[in-house]
């Protein structure tokens, strides 16, 4: 049982890293990314190929995945930044399919649908089976913590406030003299970096990857985590990631209580139940389990902030006039 909980916690860890990255991109900055699986696969294949085929050590493989994730994130956001909102969503979805189809068809590199085995794991000889699982969980936990701290630091900083301003209305941010494009590219790149790192950790954990592992369903789980947990709230989406995994996996244990159903029906009931639970969360808690904290000022706003507020009010008034 313990080893099961450890392995589920490890999977929750992957979800958490992805959810934190998505929160940075969407929850804070408002950029819709449906291409999570693409960056996840990119990281997994990068680290896998470099460690297995080129013989790099584990840490170098993960680091290379991070660099490549960042590079692709920046490139993709540059390419698609003039496309906004829904268009960006489609571009990212396309990117994920591109990565998956590349992995499926470029047989010489990725071995296509046969998949890649990975036997490189850090310190694999040191621990026994159970000990190793706990050790790997610790590695994942460290990365989750790092991603969380980076996210929190950004959220609390002036940088994060700009990101939120872009999310709410990028024209206002632009008017206030912020370089919206630069912020967007940076935030998207950092998010993609974390997604690729999660992919690398996943590959070394499961020890066998094929394009089938990186279907768009992964992105849906992560979106569920962020929405259920509370977009914009880093603690909330950690909870959300745990909750989604609990829905997905906890419902397996119901099989023992509905033994009167055959396996086919029981698995259908399980999938229906997951949907119902999520609908309930969204219905009764649309803002997520832990909504985003309201920005609290220090009481005495800084001069430029006061000025900014004034400008924003002015703009709002103008907008409402136009709208009316």
């Amino acid at each position: 049982m313990l080893s099961y909980l450890i392995s589920m916690a490890t999977f929750v860890g992957f979800f958490m890293i992805l959810a934190l990255a998505l929160n940075l991109q969407w929850g804070m900055t408002g950029m819709v990314n449906f291409g999570i699986a693409g960056f996840y696969a990119l990281g997994a294949y990068t680290s896998d190929l470099l460690t297995v085929e080129a013989g790099w050590p584990f840490l170098f493989g993960v680091a290379a995945a991070a660099v490549l994730g960042l590079a692709f994130g920046v490139a993709l956001s540059f390419l698609s930044m003039r496309l906004r909102d829904d268009f960006l969503a489609i571009v990212t979805l396309g990117f994920a399919e591109l990565v998956r189809l590349f992995a499926l068809n470029e047989d010489w590199l990725t071995r296509g649908p046969r998949g890649l085995p990975i036997d490189v794991r850090p310190l694999s000889g040191v621990f026994g089976r159970d000990g190793y699982a706990a050790f790997y969980l610790a590695i994942v936990a460290v990365v989750v913590l790092a991603a969380f701290l980076v996210n929190e630091r950004i959220r609390r900083s002036p940088y994060g406030r700009v990101a939120k301003a872009i999310r709410e209305d990028d024209v206002v941010a632009e008017v206030l003299g912020k370089n919206v494009l630069r912020f967007r590219v940076q935030v998207f790149g950092i998010g993609a970096l974390f997604m690729a790192v999660a992919g690398a950790l996943y590959a070394h954990y499961t020890q066998n990857i094929s394009p089938d592992h990186f279907t768009p369903v992964v992105a849906i789980f992560i979106w569920m985590s962020v929405i259920a947990g509370g977009a914009g709230n880093n603690k909330g989406l950690l909870l959300g990631a745990g909750l989604v995994m609990m829905f997905l996996e906890g419902t397996r244990f119901l099989g023992e209580f509905i033994a009167f159903l055959d396996a086919e029906k029981a698995s259908a009931v399980r999938i229906i139940l997951i949907g119902v639970l999520l609908i309930l969360v969204i219905r009764f808690r649309p803002q997520g389990l832990m909504p985003e904290e309201k920005f609290k000022g220090t009481g005495e706003p800084a001069p430029e902030a006061r000025h900014g507020k004034f400008v924003m009010q002015g703009l709002n008034r103008q907008n409402s006039k136009k709208g009316g």
Partner: protein, 409 residues
């Protein structure tokens, strides 16, 4: 201190309670039951076959439990859905291995799932029984724990190539759905027809499934005007591919695998399906085990192939339980050795798990012969030695048997 019940707390607490109670071990009486895992594709690409496999696992386990179990222990069967997706299947297998402590995970169907859960099964020393044709499976099975109840796909390609040659086709073109299953099949098909003096006119190529149209692919395939084309694929994409072949007016022979031409395909395509040649490894239709199986699942013996994968599910559970009975222990190392012992000759031929138990009790050696095949493995690997292979031609919307061959792998 005042405790307020917020919605958030209530939700959290109830979710936590539900989770922990679900995890609590259930009270059991008597000797500890023997846990066996079943991981079948009840939904997704394997959806048409998974439920049959799952039901067969359950039927055999219930039959044995009805007679007091194996080694005096009840069989606790834990069934999970792989969703034909390795990402999900890994977590389901984790539950089977780490929570239910199963001795084996039976019933995986697609190669990506079988390969995906292999590292964790090998690490935990758990037996795998599958019907996956990828030639990579034996290569990656370092511990000899994977028993495959399906012949590997190169054998399919060879059998189909052999028939095509005897039909007298001299020029071919080949394209296939891009997956693990078809890759090794194409290689062996091409090698076979080339060895037989025929020509493959264009380089074989692979297409991606799930496309709206296969126009470009089909044009490229028939460009060189081959006498016959070989297109191994699944039913979902083959229907669209075939439509395109028809539309472009190709008049040569179309050859594929039977999983692409099920009853739904014939219904959709209608008379245009006539003339397609297709083949599949099949249960040994005349064997007593196959007839027993049909009775067990309540089907009539129509003389046609039914449940090509359900029969394998029946054999998987039977072989595992007989090996445990023969080994007298649930120690995986010993059970593994006894699988070879009870499935392969020499010994008294038995085709049913209960007859097998009786023979073992009487101190006899047994050779289990199943509903899906003779279930003989190439010792020391878990690769199946042979399975009947049947070829059909569609005539007037119906499958007409062309021939049946026992194929060696």
């Amino acid at each position: 201190m005042k405790i307020t019940i917020t919605r958030r707390r209530l939700l959290g607490a109830s979710a936590a309670t539900a989770f922990t109670t679900a995890l609590l071990p259930r009270l059991t009486l008597g000797a500890a039951p023997l846990s066996v895992g079943s991981l079948t594709p009840n939904t997704g690409g394997g959806g048409p076959f998974g439920p049959n496999i799952a039901a067969a696992h359950k039927l055999v386990a219930e039959m044995v439990n009805g007679k007091g179990g194996v080694l005096g222990r009840e069989i606790a069967l834990h069934q999970e859905n792989s969703e034909t997706n390795p990402e999900t299947a890994i977590r389901a297998a984790r539950k089977l291995v780490d929570v239910n402590k199963v001795i084996g995970v039976l019933g995986t169907w697609s190669s990506s799932v079988t390969l995906g859960i292999m590292p964790l099964c090998q690490e935990a020393n758990v037996i795998q029984m599958c019907t996956s044709s990828s030639a990579n499976i034996p290569l990656k099975d370092k511990k000899g724990l994977v028993f495959n109840f399906m012949i590997l796909s190169p054998v399919w390609g060879e059998a189909i190539g052999d028939l095509a040659l005897r039909r007298g086709y001299k020029t071919y073109a080949v394209m296939a759905l891009n997956n693990d299953f078809t890759k090794s099949m194409v290689d062996s098909f091409v090698a076979k027809v080339k060895a037989g003096g025929a020509k493959v006119l264009t380089e074989p190529f692979y297409y991606n499934g799930g496309q709206a149209s296969y126009r470009a692919e089909v044009s490229r395939l028939i460009e060189s005007k081959p006498e016959a084309v070989f297109i191994p694929s699944y039913v979902t994409d083959f229907t669209s591919v075939y439509k395109e072949i028809f539309r472009q007016g190709y008049e040569g022979k179309v050859i594929t695998v039977s999983i692409a031409t099920g009853s739904k395909f014939k219904k959709v395509v209608g008379a245009a399906a006539d003339g397609i040649l297709h083949g599949l490894p099949v249960p040994s239709l005349g064997s007593p085990a196959y007839k027993d199986y049909l009775k067990l699942v309540g089907l009539k013996d129509t003389g046609a192939v039914q449940h090509p994968f359900g029969t394998a599910g029946h054999d998987q559970m039977s072989v595992l339980l007989l090996a445990i009975a023969s080994a007298g222990t649930d120690d995986v190392g010993k059970v593994r050795a006894h699988i070879h012992k009870i499935a392969n000759p020499p010994g008294k031929t038995v085709s049913n798990v209960l007859d097998g138990f009786a023979a073992l009790e009487a101190g006899e050696d047994i050779n289990f012969t199943g509903a899906s095949s003779d279930v003989d493995f190439k010792t020391p690997t878990g690769v199946l030695k042979s399975r009947d292979f049947m070829m059909w031609e569609i005539k007037d919307g119906k499958d007409v048997v062309v021939e049946t061959i026992a194929s060696a792998s």
